[in-house]
């Protein structure tokens, strides 16, 4: 049963103290206000979240200063009539709600004779500020990245989309963490059912803590056993803004610099933001390379095994002889050799990620150059396998999204097993199984392989932005994620309109 805020300040303080007993980080102060300093008020805040050093310049300081100049009998009416509506302040009727308001990083204010608690905004929790993204690097375009503060992240999107149609729907996840989860979208572009669907999925679970968007992602995904992510992740506000312009929804979670974008398809995972900032020729070339990389990252070691173990007749004799010469003296079967090298590579990668900055780079050099060379010299592995594993790793790095690349890294082992034991037939079986799986997969009603499949939904126009990114003149319509009737993205005016 929630405890109501009353006009009796002592009772309110008592209830509040009871709720926050043994909380040394929460500062509570009784202050006298009014011309004669005869009326008592109470403020509470989290120590670091409020600018307690320089009260005078903060909103709270100015507010308290004003209260000290007013006659005591006017204080309550002044607070009720003026302060409730200003800025981001918010009145609460219960102690529990008021406590949640304070835990969001603001100051809580109680006044004797005033039957509500007031949340007054201040600087909030400490954060990193806006930094460059560590992943999703681009050659051209903004380098701003999301941070851990959800308010900052929504502001970064707003900065790019200055339209009243951009809506931010707030909800909370985590019974104990009470984490802000915001859905950001363009109201006139999204399919209302998609918004309804994600809201339903968010309301379908209750967890004690949602410390990162990754937890929300896993709890709202439909196909949990698929290695492929059904949400696109990004740390780039421009990527998120671009998705919103396509009629997609961005999900931001407090304390997480990673935004989730829905729906997601194979094609959207391969796209990068600078695909649209660069000229179409280079954008198309790199896009096609990334598609190729995504497939090779999964099948290359497997195909090597199939060719060398089962179907040597495909390769020219010279190449075959050099492959055989390179393997001479290696004690392991080719499949074991590839698995060993792949595991070694994954270990290096994991170690590189966990070690701090400069040391992480050293691991790459130690692993790649020293251990690799030593393993070849000691005849533990053949140089060809080192090349195969290195090329596969390059391919997986070329995939712009880490979660998506991980799916291919995992499936690579399946292909190694299938091709190592059944040759090219194993490859065909694995490829068909992955294809069937991807064909069955959907993200919020959109086929995962769209627009290669189901392109008729948008008059086959979405196919202009797949393997190749056609010139922007051809991309006049938004993709299928946008609601029908709102798909015009680009119009030409004047003489250009007639030309086209």
């Amino acid at each position: 049963m929630p405890i109501q805020v009353t006009q009796d300040l002592k009772k309110n303080i008592e209830n509040f103290e009871e709720l926050f007993s043994d909380c040394a980080d929460i500062k509570k102060r009784n202050i006298k206000v009014g011309q004669n300093l005869e009326r008592e008020c109470f403020i509470a805040y989290i120590e670091v979240a409020v600018s307690n050093v320089d009260w005078k310049d903060s909103a709270v300081g100015k507010f308290l200063g004003k209260l000290r100049t007013m006659p005591e009998e006017q204080l309550v009416s002044y607070v009720r009539d003026n302060v409730e509506d200003i800025s981001d302040s918010q009145p609460f009727d219960t102690i529990e709600d008021a406590a949640q308001g304070m835990l969001a990083g603001d100051v809580l204010f109680f006044l004797d004779g005033y039957g509500k608690a007031l949340k007054i905004p201040d600087k909030g929790y400490p954060g990193r500020g806006v930094y460059e993204t560590e992943s999703e690097k681009v050659i051209r375009g903004s380098n701003e990245g999301f941070s851990e503060s959800i308010k900052l992240n929504t502001a970064l999107i707003r900065k790019r989309l200055r339209s009243p149609h951009v809506k931010v729907k707030e909800s909370f996840a985590g019974r104990r963490t009470h984490t802000n989860v915001d859905l950001v979208y363009m109201k006139d572009l999204i399919h209302p059912k998609m918004l309804e669907e994600i809201e339903n999925r968010l309301s379908e679970f209750e967890i004690d803590g949602a410390l990162d968007s990754g937890i929300v992602e896993q709890l709202t995904e439909k196909r949990k056993y698929s290695p492929f992510p059904q949400f696109q992740t990004t740390q780039r506000p421009d990527r998120a803004a671009m998705a919103i312009l396509e009629g997609r929804i961005v999900l931001l979670s407090d304390n997480s610099p990673v935004a989730l974008i829905l729906p997601a398809t194979y094609n959207t995972f391969i796209q990068t933001s600078d695909d649209y900032y660069s000229r179409w020729e280079i954008a198309s070339f790199t896009r096609a390379l990334r598609y190729l990389a995504s497939i090779l990252a999964m099948v290359f070691p497997g195909l090597y095994l199939a060719m060398t173990n089962f179907h040597t007749q495909i390769l020219p004799t010279d190449l075959l002889l050099s492959l055989a010469a390179a393997r001479q003296g290696v004690p392991f079967p080719a499949m074991v050799e590839v698995i060993l090298m792949e595991i070694a590579f994954e270990l290096l990668r994991e170690a590189g990620v966990r070690l701090p900055g400069a040391n992480g780079n050293t691991i790459g050099i130690v692993g790649g150059l020293i251990i690799g060379q030593a393993a070849v010299d000691a005849n533990i592995v053949s140089p060809i396998v080192v090349i195969v594993v290195a090329l596969t790793a390059l391919c997986s790095f070329a995939i712009p999204n880490e979660e998506f690349a991980t799916a291919f890294r995992i499936l690579k082992f399946l292909f190694i097993f299938l091709c190592g034991s059944m040759g090219f037939f194993g490859f065909l079986v694995g490829f068909l199984a992955v294809l069937i799986h991807l064909s069955h997969l959907e993200s919020f009603g959109i086929p995962y392989l769209a627009p290669f499949v189901g392109a008729e939904l948008n008059g086959y126009r979405d196919e202009r932005d797949t393997f190749l990114r056609l010139p922007l003149d051809f991309l006049k319509k938004r993709p299928v994620y946008t609601r029908e009737g709102a798909r015009t993205r680009l119009k030409f005016k004047g003489s250009r309109e007639k030309k086209l």
């Binding site: 179907h311 037939f425 068909l432």
Partner: protein, 369 residues
């Protein structure tokens, strides 16, 4: 929301049928036609295509009268008993075809890719894939072939383009040397390979634009016949009529002989087997899907997944039968030409006739009242 797992587009229908029909026909027809009619096989393909167009016309004429599904239409037009008999006939056709194709694709794998593999192991793997592919509705299945279409089509066309250089046009003669019976036999063989088009009758509830289904299938028919004619001319031109009749799968042999510029790959037949693996698998999967669909309707068990397992198991044992007893293949060929082919035409004509009778009787009654 957007994707509907039980509705497919016209492009998906077109590509699905191209994959279904192309695999078996390009793999087997050249050998059959060459041994029966020599260079005149090209005319058999043409005549067979015309007969296929007639079959499609009959399918289209019946499709117009189907209100909900084909089974309902058959019961309404021919009565419950005949409707059930016709459904059993279709079920037997698709399940036996499924078993036959399973054996063909397994043998293809064992011959070209995995000579030391076991028939049972390979076919069970294919069966599991088939069941997985059919599990989530027709759209999931159609998407696979929609996306894979150009992945297979482009390499095939490139290979055929380079194979043209090897053609010796003198092998195309003598022409018009076969008798009417041979031509009839060859054309019948072509038509038999086009019978899976009758699956269209069952697809009306699953198509987004059912009124254009037949033209989509017609497009597929044209593409398949064009490709088969091209392949036939190339094969006859490369191998000659006599050699071709001996080769088991001449098209795959051809793929191994084509010299690609640059000469990096010396034998492409292994890689090109992928085309026939995927296309045969498509037909096999169609057999499983159609068999399951028909059995579900007959048993009135629309949600029962065990029916899918039962059909797959039946296909496995039929396929195993074809593998172990070669006379069964001959029986199947007789069944195809003397039961399935006339049966398909018979059912379609009878249904049209009965529907016409019923309609004219109703019009008469309406006029009398």
């Amino acid at each position: 929301m957007f994707a509907d797992n039980w509705k497919i587009s016209l492009r998906q229908i077109r590509r699905l049928f191209i994959m279904d029909i192309f695999g078996m026909s390009s793999l087997m027809l050249p050998g059959i036609l060459s041994s029966m009619t020599g260079a005149d096989g090209i005319f058999c393909l043409l005549i067979g295509a015309i007969a296929g167009a007639v079959l499609l016309w009959l399918v289209g004429a019946n499709l117009k009268h189907i209100k909900q599904d084909y089974y309902g239409y058959m019961k309404e037009t021919a009565g419950q008993l005949l409707g059930d008999i016709f459904m059993v006939f279709y079920f037997l056709y698709f399940v036996s075809l499924c078993g036959y194709v399973l054996n063909q694709v397994t043998m293809l794998i064992l011959t070209w890719l995995l000579p030391e593999g076991s028939w049972t192991g390979v076919s069970i793997l294919l069966l599991l894939l088939g069941v997985y592919g059919s599990m989530r509705g027709i759209e999931g299945r159609a998407r696979v072939y929609e996306i894979i279409f150009w992945f297979l089509g482009i390499p095939l066309l490139v290979m055929l383009f380079f194979a043209i250089q090897e053609v010796n046009t003198s092998y195309w003669t003598p022409i018009v040397a076969s008798g009417g019976i041979q031509l009839f036999g060859g054309s019948t063989a072509v038509l038999i390979f086009l019978l899976p088009f009758t699956a269209l009758l069952f697809l009306k509830p699953f198509c987004k634009k059912p009124e254009k289904m037949v033209s989509s299938a017609g497009n597929a028919l044209f593409t398949v016949i064009f490709l088969n004619m091209l392949i036939y001319l190339i094969l006859v031109g490369v191998f000659g009529q006599n050699t071709m009749g001996i080769l088991e799968r001449p098209i795959i042999t051809l793929m191994g002989m084509v010299n690609l510029p640059g000469g990096f790959f010396t034998r492409q037949d292994v890689l090109m087997t992928a085309v026939w693996f995927f296309t045969l698998f498509a037909l096999f999967n169609t057999g499983i899907f159609q068999g399951t669909l028909i059995l579900k309707e007959l048993c009135q068990q629309s949600e029962n997944r065990w029916i899918l397992v039962a059909v797959a198991t039946a296909a496995f044992f039929i396929g195993k039968g074809f593998y172990q007893y070669s006379f069964l293949t001959e029986v199947f060929e007789i069944y195809q030409s003397q039961v399935a082919l006339p049966g398909m035409f018979f059912i379609l004509v009878v249904l049209l006739f009965l529907h016409w009778m019923k309609t004219s009787r109703n019009v008469q009654r309406g006029g009398n009242t």
